[in-house]
Amino acid sequence: MSESGAGTGAASHGRAAAVLAAARPAAPWRLGAGFLLPFALVVAVFFLIPAVLTVILSLTDVSVATGLRDFRWVGLENYRRILTDPVAGLVLRNTLLYVGATLTLFNVGLALVLALATAFLPQRWGGFFRAVWLLPRITPSVVYVLMWKYFAAEPPYGVINQVLAALGLPAGGNWLYEHPWPMVIAINGFVGASMGMIIFSAAIQAIPREQLIAAQVDGAGTWALVRRVVLPQLRWPALFVAAYQTLSLLASYEYILLATDGGPGFYTTEVWALYAFHTALSNYFGNAQYGLGAALATVLVVIGLVASVLYLRFFNFRQLTQRPRIEVS
């Protein structure tokens, strides 16, 4: 190919042709592969394989007592145990309540409100509020829950009751005991809101200014601007935050463990992940049953899977992942 180019063209043309010819049809996959490979490797090895392993382990009776060598295949025994467990239903209901309420009220709802409201403030104040909301996330969970416990505590320790009393309102007892669900949801929600807030804020920032101005000129007030121009462009972040947080919430138990430990009373705030922790993984007394834990986790994954598929449908995943527009490179 380069021969013909050099033969026919003038000297300079020949050179250009040679350059072009030397540029062998580029392998478009090369950069993609290079970019994906380290990532794929890390994820596959350190996440995918363990995930698959976990599913496999769920079919065994592996536990501390069996060690990681002497376990037996027990088929679906672990799943049978879950199915016959009289509290599984209750725990599942709790889980749905917990995930649903925390997600809608805080992780997506409040996050959006915060992102929007801070966007409407001067840069400096917006930053201030966002920083404040980031605090719960950077606070060690034990400390964070400790603060809540002090907030919820009965008089004279509890802050909420103290504030209520100062306002002349009737003070109650221990809020964690008397209103376990609102408290559990708030405790998780105040941490969860910051992620959505940051992501939504950045996404709002990315909308070209002129577009927003155009909307104002078109007659859009604040609300219309938000609803019709800003929110629709937050679809990807919203899908992402909703899906991701659903899964995070499904798998999370730490704050509940610390706050109510599933109580008060009979599994009142016990969620699936915490139940898994309690029945299979907590090592306080004796034997952690990894196999059963894996089975409980797998059930959680299945729930998460169903939720994800619904999300992807709902947000029109196909449309959100459009074809690249640069075709040669």
Partner: protein
């Protein structure tokens, strides 16, 4: 930013009215924490007495406890490694998934979500089996890689969203200007999505900063015992916890993170626009 769209826009009073009440609880929580770290005990907001005792861990290291400075350094190292690793891998992968024609893009993205459904704690044993097999058990590298892997899906998704916002014309222009796709990514696309990178980095750093289970359990011998490990230990046997110290250590622990955030905040919210009609 939305507030200053049009210069004639009146300041958004509703935003204040909304933000102040919902933020108040958080402010109160942390005000309480601050006060508590300097007092003997608390009854509601009322300190029961001022004391420096809680902070004594700074100048009077617990002879049996770990060295705070060393822990802080370890934590920093771990968090930085994790943040750098995550942002690096995620920014490349997300670019490939968002902008390059790689086979199975959608599949990858969907898979990443599904993976996240596994609660971390249940993966511990499997992760252990793997690390042991790879000879990475009890190494800093092993823990960092494991941590990175567990969080990569998150960052890939976040960054993909940002890449999607970049105008194709910018990329095309750079290619035409003689930049390779790699250079284009590095010199043109990355700077444009800098807020996204920063957001990602903040999250990665924060999460690295507060991680303790992985290093503790998977690298028992390596020098990666971190501040949260210490903090956790203060509360381990909760019935004997020294809550005053806990609050003080917590405040101490959060200071650097706050600084990092405030530093990054400047970049976090500045997005480059203009230069293209869209």
């Amino acid at each position: 930013m939305l507030g200053s769209l049009s210069e004639t826009q009146r300041p958004a009073r509703w935003a204040w009215l909304l933000l102040v009440p919902v933020t108040l609880p958080v402010l109160l929580l942390y005000a309480w924490l601050l006060v508590a770290s300097w007092s003997d005990g608390m009854e509601g907001f009322r300190p029961l007495g001022f004391t420096l005792e809680n902070w004594s861990f700074l100048w009077q290291p617990d002879p049996f406890g770990p060295n705070i400075a060393q822990l802080t350094l370890n934590t920093l190292l771990f968090a930085v490694l994790v943040a750098v690793g995550e942002v690096l891998l995620a920014s490349t992968a997300a670019y490939a998934l968002a902008r390059l024609s790689v086979p199975g893009r959608r599949l990858w993205l969907a898979m990443l979500i599904v993976l996240h459904a596994f609660p971390g704690i249940t993966l511990l044993v499997a992760l252990f089996l793997l690390l042991r097999q790879l000879g990475l058990y009890d190494t800093l590298a092993g823990v960092v890689l494991a941590k990175i892997a567990l969080e990569l899906p998150f960052h890939v998704w976040v960054l993909k969203g940002f890449y999607d916002q970049v105008s194709w014309d910018h990329e095309m222009a750079a290619l035409l200007d003689g930049a390779s796709r790699l250079t284009t990514w590095w010199r043109v696309v990355l700077p444009i999505i800098r807020p996204g990178l920063m957001a990602s980095a903040v999250f990665a750093f924060l999460s690295g900063w507060s991680e303790f289970l992985l290093p503790y359990v998977l690298a028992p011998g390596a020098d990666v015992q971190t501040l949260p490990v210490y903090l956790g230990s203060l509360l381990s046997q909760a019935d004997v916890a020294r809550y005053g110290t806990v609050t003080a250590v917590a405040v101490f622990y959060m200071i650097p993170v706050m600084l990092v955030y405030l530093f990054l905040q400047r970049y976090l919210m500045v997005l480059y626009t203009g230069g293209v009609k869209r």
